[in-house]
């Protein structure tokens, strides 16, 4: 009896060792517990809503819970700083990054982390363009007409907060066109829209999802899209880069979201997540969901995502310095 027990025990140990070896090589041993998806903003924003959708789809793929955690503060830098520091649970914590990640790094030189090298870039999920819009009462019908006018008289552009992608797009446009645009801040896109609709401000480079309904209802006039290619939902709208007579080839700005983790995150977790997220990106629930936000699935993963981040940080740093919003 005793012998039999010993045999069983030994075979159990042996099999678990074999299984352990197997999982670290052939089968990934990740995730071993619930995954925490940190949203660096308050509940309710676009990034938050997207994160909850992704968490939902991801837990179907991975068979563990994906818990969404809101950690707002100082743009997105408070949550991002914590992610970089690692600590307990770092091997199962990921973060939904957005343009705030690169713009934060370009505005604040004293961040306690390096926006490129302190992170593992897992998967970029989507890209959405901004749209250059003017009030319907505006007399300008093209980017070129607008630039000509803005060179001769002071004009204003609205944005939903300092350091937002919309704000930085406006500053980039101002720098490239050498026009006299003044940035007018509002507490969020909802508050900025009335000023744009009523003509209190002259132009904005708002997110496509925010302004699309107003373009369709005639409240706003779209002049151009800020992506490098034309926008699927408004195929007749030119890109800003198509503008003739001006050097606007560098004017490409998009809103994007992607999943990142700290350096303490295991490599096998990266592999598992990449595969799972690529499956999520192909799901109809996901594509239909982001289409309503005016976005398209991104193809960038891993190294390509990292290179994108590195180039964005450099670019916005220059714009921020030029615009005088880079802090000392």
């Amino acid at each position: 009896m005793k012998f039999k027990n010993t045999v069983i025990a030994m075979s159990l140990v042996a099999s678990s060792v074999v299984m352990g070896l197997g999982s670290s090589s052939a089968f990934a041993d990740w995730p071993t517990k619930d995954i925490h998806l940190v949203v660096p903003y308050s509940a309710g924003g676009n990034t938050d809503v997207l994160s909850r959708r992704v968490a939902d789809l991801l837990q179907n793929e991975l068979d563990v819970n994906v818990i969404v955690e809101n950690r707002p503060g100082a743009g997105s830098t408070v949550a991002t700083g914590r992610l970089a520091r690692g600590g307990r649970n770092a091997d199962h914590t990921i973060l939904m990054a957005s343009p705030g990640h690169v713009i934060g790094a370009s505005i604040y030189p004293n961040l306690p982390y390096d926006a490129v090298n302190d992170f593992k870039f897992i998967e970029k999920l989507l890209d959405a363009p901004n749209i250059m819009v003017v009030p319907s009462s505006s007399s300008y019908n093209s980017v070129a007409e607008f630039i000509t006018a803005a060179k001769s008289k002071p004009m204003t552009f609205s944005h939903p907060g300092v350091g937002s992608s919309v704000h930085m797009s406006g500053e980039l446009f101002k720098t490239l066109t050498k026009t006299k645009l003044t940035a007018v801040p509002f507490p969020g896109s909802g508050a900025a829209l009335p000023a744009l609709l009523s003509g209190d401000v002259d132009v904005s480079f708002e997110n496509a999802s925010t302004v699309l309904p107003h373009i369709q209802s005639g409240g706003l006039k779209a002049l151009a899209v800020t992506s490098s290619t034309r926008f699927k939902l408004l195929p007749n709208l030119p890109t800003v880069t198509e503008t003739e007579g001006y050097e606007l080839g560098g004017f490409v700005t998009t809103i994007w979201n992607g999943i990142i983790a700290g350096n303490a995150f295991p490599d096998e977790g990266v592999v598992v997540l990449q595969a799972a997220l690529q499956r999520v990106k192909e799901r109809k629930e996901f594509t239909e969901f982001i289409e309503k936000m005016g976005a398209e699935p991104s193809t960038a993963s891993g190294e390509e995502f990292k290179l994108f981040i590195a180039s964005e940080v450099e670019r916005w740093k220059m714009v921020a310095e030029e615009a005088g919003v880079r802090q000392k």
């Binding site: 309710g44 809101n70 100082a74 004293n110 204003t156 300092v162 801040p185």
Partner: protein, 490 residues
């Protein structure tokens, strides 16, 4: 109306009633828990609505919103801890009423006032949406600036015994509101390079600290005899009291409707403006802040009046006025609907079904609210030695829960000490709060107006709305000075 039967079939399904009931119930409970804000509740409920029918989905979210607006007042009245920022003003008279053994009366008045304001707000949404939306579009930064100037004159009337102390408190509130990033340049102000301070001081830890903690310190200082005597079985609101408050409720509701229809303003400001207007007009002016039932009615009418009206810019213009309506906008989009002028053409039946649902949700609020009062008043039966540690626990949890940040707990404790000093030195906390809420709005709109107008001052006098508020501001100052002079001569 040929679509009438379609509207009825859209609305009269069980799902809608269940959605409203669950929404209002969740809203009241979550609103009553300090630190869990209505915004958070609506955001958390959003994913559940993806698989629902559009009408039920929106009604669930609207139910939570309305329930939360009322729920916040329960803990404000009973334990001096506002469940939501918008209920901070209710506490000024609600808590003294509870101390005088009139907790039940205060809770009921707050509920009746909330429900009436809610209904008025709904009616405005249904009948005047297009008109109010037009006003909202004409309400730019300069108009906002004068509205805030007018509201700031409130400080004089809410200063308590000493106008000087009132100004001191307001100035301190404004100074604390300056902490964070500059709204135009993004440069840091009073942050000492600390990332916790970059977004400014969080409102919820400030409120909890300022109001709840001093009571706790006070209790332990006196050891046995707490001055809290909550008598839940106290008197009901009498008919004559209700009649007396009715005018105030209607006035507060309309203040809420106007402010709610303007994107980017908010329920907290509406509650304070309604409160100060009530005080200005009331013959019982002196008893405000000491347990005046009219004060509770005014504050709740102001914040609930906002709830239906924030749907005005959303439905008629497609503009979300605050974070909650931004989430509701998201829910519309997920169902392939785009709020705005086109929706009135393409989905009219759906809009009318929503309107019926929104009206029904106000009635549900009354029922759920009455039930909540019955159960929440049981807090009164808990011995104070047990209740106070629980309150402290809720304070700590509430401060933490907003941003999941331990720094906010220390912040809350700090404001607790400040609140205690306020109490001991006879400084009123109302002007402090008004400075904190309206100060940044004053700065933002002043600077925004100057930027829009390219630093040409004429933008401040650009139309009838600006003139209207300039006149109101001047009148308010003249009357306050006159009253003060006659008071001094006595």
């Amino acid at each position: 109306m040929e679509n009438f039967s379609e509207v009825l079939t859209l609305f009269f399904v069980w799902d809608n009633f269940i959605a409203i009931a669950i929404g209002v119930f969740l809203g009241v409970v979550i609103g009553a828990i300090p630190g869990l804000t209505t915004t958070m509740a609506v955001a958390l409920a959003l994913p559940f609505t993806f698989s629902m029918e559009p009408v039920s989905a929106i009604l669930l979210l609207v139910g939570i919103y309305k329930g939360g607006m009322y729920g916040g007042s329960i803990t404000a009245i009973l334990i001096r801890t506002p469940g939501t920022p918008a209920s901070a003003c209710t506490l000024l008279d609600g808590y003294p009423m509870a101390q005088n053994g009139e907790a039940k009366k205060a809770l009921k008045m707050s509920l009746y006032s909330s429900v009436i304001a809610d209904i008025i707000s709904n009616i405005s949404l249904i009948f005047f949406a297009a008109y109010l939306a037009k006003i909202a579009l004409n309400f730019g930064a300069p108009e906002f600036f004068w509205l805030i100037c007018f509201s700031l004159t409130i400080i004089v009337s809410l200063s308590g015994s000493s106008i000087l102390k009132g100004f001191l408190a307001a100035t301190l509130g404004i100074m604390i509101s300056l902490i964070g990033l500059d709204p135009v340049y993004g440069s840091q102000r009073f942050t000492f390079n600390d990332y916790n301070l970059m977004d400014g001081i969080s409102f919820v830890p400030l409120l909890i600290g300022l109001f709840a903690i001093p009571e706790v310190i006070d209790f332990y200082q006196r050891k046995v005899a707490s001055k809290i005597v909550i008598n839940a079985s106290g008197k009901e609101v009498s008919w004559s009291e209700f009649k007396r408050c009715f005018k105030t409720i209607v006035r507060g509701s309309f203040i809420g409707v106007i402010i709610g229809a303007i994107p980017g303003s908010g329920a907290t400001a509406a509650a304070f403006i309604s409160y100060s207007e009530a005080r200005r007009k009331s013959p019982n002016r002196e008893s405000f802040g000491k347990g005046e039932i009219e004060g509770v009615a005014a504050s709740e009418a102001g914040n609930n009046g906002v709830a239906g009206a924030t749907m005005i810019p959303l439905l008629s213009l497609g503009i979300p006025g605050d974070v909650v309506t931004a989430i509701i906008l998201g829910a519309f989009m997920v169902h392939g609907l785009t709020p705005g002028p086109l929706m009135f053409q393409d989905n009219l039946s759906l809009i009318y079904a929503l309107f019926i649902g929104i009206m029904v949700s106000s009635l549900f609020l009354l029922v759920v609210g009455l039930g909540a009062i019955k159960y929440f008043s049981k807090i009164a039966d808990i011995p104070k030695e047990i209740l106070f540690p629980i309150i402290v626990m809720f304070c700590v949890y509430g401060a933490y829960a907003v941003n999941n940040n331990t720094f906010d707990i220390w912040l809350m404790m700090g404001f607790g000490v400040l609140g205690y000093i306020f109490n001991k030195t006879g400084m009123a906390s109302a002007p402090f709060l008004i400075g904190f809420i309206l100060g940044p709005m004053f700065e933002d709109n002043l600077r925004r107006s100057l930027l829009i107008g390219n630093y040409d001052m004429s933008i401040f006098f650009r139309g009838p709305i600006t003139w209207f508020f300039i006149a109101l501001t001047l009148l308010s100052i003249i009357f306050s000075v006159k009253r003060w002079l006659s008071y001094r001569n006595k």
